[in-house]
């Protein structure tokens, strides 16, 4: 027996949820599918496949005020920004949920990022497991699975006419009213098979090929735009600037990327990563080596967004494959 909810009951529950909290879910915006605040629950997209942008922006917004500087009577006061709104993210896939768990590592490590922690505390995640896999996905090679419920508060799995419900956390339990779920004799479909990538031992290999000419050759075609970083559920770099706004000053942080020209430019104008090769290598070294050394997991969840979005087909699956091969050659 499984806990079960019909599609109609699910939608009317989500409708109720949206009255007291921000309900965020995948919706169609022109030709794109994006996580957005839902106006009508009928607009929620249940189709398989990942949204064009990850839901990381609900924890790490594209731009966010960190604090305000107020000045009056010759005194300066710093007023921290606060997250007031309770949010429910519905329809988050296991790879994206894992992505948030990965973001937790740098952002919740003490001293934790105050705003990130508030977003995290005020958000409940309702996951949707994948019953089919996209050709660009490789989650099973990156420490998660299409039906991994370990990083959400409630997990749903689509079965005919409705969904099997797994209540994972107390937070999830608190969101569900008594009597909403029924018991049904239904078992979940087998998890889809996902293409695999030879990620075993990749950190060690990355170490060995650090000085390989491979990176310069790969960077030949890289445009050094920020698409890969911005569609990525785990990239977490930002830039900070003070801006005058009305009578006060706001300290704002905005997404940035290690692929940006000038990202590592320092006072005096020197840029240690100005060349294309080292700049592109940084993205993969961070994901597959530095983050692994610091936090013990890869900084990639295999969602496939960068694979799909890169204008010149820099494909992390191919890079991993190539690096594994390079390691072998360099020992020979």
């Amino acid at each position: 027996m499984s806990d079960y909810i019909s599609r109609a009951d699910l939608l009317s529950w989500l409708e109720k949820v949206s009255q007291s909290r921000d309900l965020v879910a995948p919706v169609k915006i022109e030709d794109l599918t994006l996580f957005q605040k839902v106006e009508r629950v009928e607009d929620i997209v249940f189709d398989p496949g990942n949204t064009d942008l990850s839901p990381k922006e609900f924890f790490f917004p594209k731009s966010e005020v960190l604090f305000y500087v107020d000045r009056s009577d010759g005194r300066v006061e710093l007023v921290p920004a606060e997250v007031e709104q309770e949010t429910v993210i519905f329809g988050i896939r296991p790879c994206d949920a894992k992505g948030i768990a990965v973001l937790d590592l740098p952002y919740l490590e003490e001293p934790a990022d105050a705003l990130y922690r508030q977003h995290r505390e005020k958000t409940t995640l309702v996951g949707l497991s994948c019953v089919s896999a996209c050709p660009e996905c490789f989650c099973t090679s990156m420490g998660t699975t299409p039906d991994d419920a370990s990083n959400v508060d409630i997990m749903l799995t689509e079965v005919e006419e409705g969904f099997i419900v797994q209540v994972v956390t107390e937070k999830g339990k608190a969101l569900l009213p008594e009597g909403l779920l029924s018991s049904k004799e239904v078992s979940p479909p087998a998890a889809p098979s996902v293409a695999s990538v030879p990620s075993e031992g990749i950190a060690e290999k990355m170490h060995q090929v650090f000085d390989s000419p491979y990176w310069d050759r790969l960077a030949d075609r890289c445009l050094h735009c920020n698409v890969c970083s911005y569609v990525c559920p785990t990239c977490y770099c930002f830039d900070v600037r003070d801006l005058r706004s009305g009578g006060r000053v706001e300290r704002v942080r905005s997404w940035e990327s290690c692929q940006s020209p000038g990202f590592t430019k320092i006072a005096g104008g020197y840029d240690p990563r100005a060349a294309k090769g080292p700049r592109l290598r940084q993205r993969f070294a961070h994901k597959l080596l530095y983050f692994v050394e610091k936090f013990g997991v890869t900084h990639c969840v295999g969602c496939g967004r960068c694979v799909r979005s890169c204008p010149v087909n820099i494909d992390i699956r191919e890079v991993i494959q190539d690096v594994q091969g390079l390691g072998v050659k360099s020992e020979a």
Binding site: R221, L223, V227, S254, N313, D315
Partner: protein, 285 residues
């Protein structure tokens, strides 16, 4: 020989003879159906080169990374106009570039893992099939090209100004300021882009509607009279913003005011890089 075979043979010959150090062309992408840029340094690797209707990237941008080095480039008519633009603007030396021009069948709409038979809108509107200049031509040159038309711009011009504003506000609100449009554009090569300048500060770092409005309009204005219409900005935009509509509006204005189209040759001075004392435009008079 088909286009791919001709390109492979030419690339091999150029590398074997040492005429160039590198041939920039296309190879098959990892999705098995699309193309991606390829840099060939060894004659043995020339066999990877392909050409078909998925080769939509404008490779001229890469010449900026190979200044002063003998390079051959596979170039469609719009790409060739980008090479002309870069020569005209003294970014690239003509004698360092060997143009393998390709008679263009038009590029098709593609997505990751999928190729349609429908021509890209930019290619649908384009009237040029034979490159204006080349050192070696792949394919048979066609008949004389038809006049340039701007039906898409005319549709936008027919809207009331409030409707146009609402349209662009909606489009720009999706912008994530990833700068893929800038990075892919052969005409965007400032060593420091205004968007990243701190002093003077032209636009703040926020990824928000007001800043995105400034970014997108200034990007377009910086390409006025310079855009060669390759549509890379729109092709690479992850948020599907119809950027070429802005560029084409400015292209149309430049054509009407100055009778000038960028990249048609490498010598005619560009209108916005020229001052003529006797010039009367009947604008603002």
């Amino acid at each position: 020989m088909n286009a791919t075979e001709q390109i492979v043979a030419k690339a091999r010959e150029l590398l074997e003879s040492g005429t160039v150090e590198c041939v920039i062309g296309y190879e098959r992408a990892t999705d098995g159906v699309n193309a991606r840029p390829l840099f060939v340094y060894q004659a043995e690797e020339a066999g990877k080169l392909i050409f078909d209707q998925t080769c939509a990237h404008n490779l001229a941008k890469y010449l900026l990374n190979r200044k002063g080095k003998a390079t051959a480039i596979v170039a469609k008519p719009c790409d060739v106009r980008a090479v002309n633009l870069l020569i005209n603007e003294h970014q690239v030396e003509r004698d360092k570039v060997l143009i393998i021009g390709v008679v263009c069948p038009g590029m098709v709409e593609t997505k990751w893992g999928r190729v349609s038979e429908k021509l890209r809108q930019a290619c649908e509107l384009c009237r040029e099939h034979t490159p204006v200049v080349y050192d070696f031509l792949v394919g048979e040159p066609g008949d004389e090209e038809a006049a340039v038309e701007y039906p898409d711009v005319a549709r936008m011009e027919a809207l009331a100004i409030e409707e146009r504003r609402a349209f662009w506000e909606k489009q720009f609100s999706r912008c994530i300021r990833c700068y893929a449009c800038r990075q892919a554009c052969p005409g965007c090569y400032c060593s420091e882009c205004f968007a990243e300048r701190l002093d003077p500060l032209w636009v703040g770092i926020r990824i928000a509607p007001s800043e995105s409005w400034i970014w997108n309009t200034m990007r377009a204005f910086h390409l006025a009279g310079r855009c060669i219409g390759c549509n890379q900005c729109e092709r690479v935009c992850p948020m599907n913003i119809p950027l070429s509509l802005l560029n084409r509006k400015l292209e149309k204005e430049t054509l009407e005011l100055f009778g000038y189209r960028a990249g048609v040759d490498a010598e005619t001075p560009a209108p916005f890089a020229t001052f003529r004392k006797d010039e009367k435009l009947e604008v603002g008079e």
